[in-house]
């Protein structure tokens, strides 16, 4: 299938869902990660810091009104069977104490050693939100982001230059072109889209990377 016509954010969201096995309790960050709740496998438990565990898909337009259930981005969501809501205090305590398995967050920069910068950059500092809390407690941090920023500058870097959100916290990076594992502070390519060459990928990736012997062609189910 030709994925070049698919919205890259949509592509990334579907790929995120593949990396969340049933049973995972996952916090999805604002932006692209949040979209993954439309595609997660049955048995994945989506938690949001505003106080809900068991977020299901976004409602179909016009089908029903969802007044009381929102994700952390403020979008209406339908709770799954067995979902519960709680206050923000319990929600962050749950994350700080390691009860949430995985988080998927966006990034301004992510470094080969797992450092994450996603809250402030020169000239724009809108605040760290809940990201520092989340990465300090959640067991596995996945970054899901466009490969480059709006100006075409690589987001995957040797070393973050922006202020950090977390130190050596990221273990997997998902972009619209590839998936990188982070092993011993080094990037390993796990998946690559067919429509980008390895040379091109190296060009738009600021950090060096190895190619896994098991490196797969990156597709998503549609």
């Amino acid at each position: 299938m030709d994925f070049s016509q698919m919205d890259p954010r949509e592509f990334i969201a579907r790929k995120i869902a593949e990396y969340l096995p049933p049973g995972t309790v996952v916090n999805l960050g604002v932006g692209i990660p949040t979209r993954a709740s439309d595609y997660t496998k049955e048995g994945v438990w989506v938690q949001a810091e505003n106080g809900i565990l068991g977020i299901g898909p976004h409602p179909e337009p016009g089908i029903r009104r969802v007044e009381s259930y929102r994700n952390a981005s403020g979008e209406a969501v339908i709770p799954v069977r067995g979902a519960c809501t709680f206050d923000v205090e319990l929600s962050f305590g749950m994350m700080r104490s390691g009860r949430v398995d995985t988080t998927v967050l966006g990034a301004l920069q992510v470094a080969q050693n797992g450092d994450l910068a996603n809250w402030t950059m020169p000239g724009r500092s809108p605040g760290m939100g809940g990201a520092m809390d989340i990465v300090s407690g959640v067991k596995r941090v996945i970054v899901a982001t466009r490969h480059c920023n709006k100006d075409g500058v690589p987001k995957i870097v040797k070393e973050c230059t922006y202020p950090l959100t977390g130190i050596r916290v990221v273990s997997l990076i998902i972009t619209e072109y590839c998936v990188f594992d982070i092993v011993d502070e080094h990037l390993v390519l796990l998946e690559k889209r067919e429509d980008i060459s390895l040379e091109k990928l190296k060009e738009i990736t600021d950090a060096p990377f190895d190619v896994s012997p098991d490196c797969k062609t990156m597709t998503v189910e549609v």
Binding site: G74, R96, A131
Partner: protein, 218 residues
Amino acid sequence: MRLGKLYSPDEIVRDFHDGQTLVLGGFGRYGNPENLIDLCIESKARHLTVIKLNISEPGYGEAKLISEGVVDKIITSHMNYNKEAMSLYEAGKLEVEFCPMGTIAERLRAGGAGIAAFYVQTGMGTGIEKGKDIKEFDGKKYMMETALTGDVALVRSRVADPLGNLAYHGTNENSNPLVAMNNSTLTIADPDMILEIDEIGIDKIATPGVYLDKILEM
């Protein structure tokens, strides 16, 4: 604790004064005490400090106060959704103190629970720990954060009774229970519905009335 905590908008409007620190329930655009915010605007109180988890887009909650130009300072975790607030901040017309969201929540809880300060790992190594008291527990470093309270706490709830007992619904609960029990000097609720005593149900009350001073009756 007394019955008769119900107050009219005309009475509540007199509770807002210049220079107050407001502690606001809500999460971004949702679960805000909108009626109380409107009364605060009506009061013409200025030079306010606002404490809230995260700032809403314009048109909701504390964003309405910011648009009115009556906010001097904000303590929050982010203002990503509010270009107006960001512009004021970047122009130096609005003082902003950023604090991680979970840490703000915990600081509000500490204020209401008689806890002076506590140690969290959140943000260690990112630079936000600078100037803070650092302690090691089990080989890991934690920073000290202190309790946060204010002059007036504004709470949105689904229901209230005349004793001030409150219950919430869905994700509109968010920070409201914390703000209600935060031990601000004056705590006011903005419920969707007011029920008779005992109608909420003994097991369904989330915030005991002892924390509430006033209930807005529209």
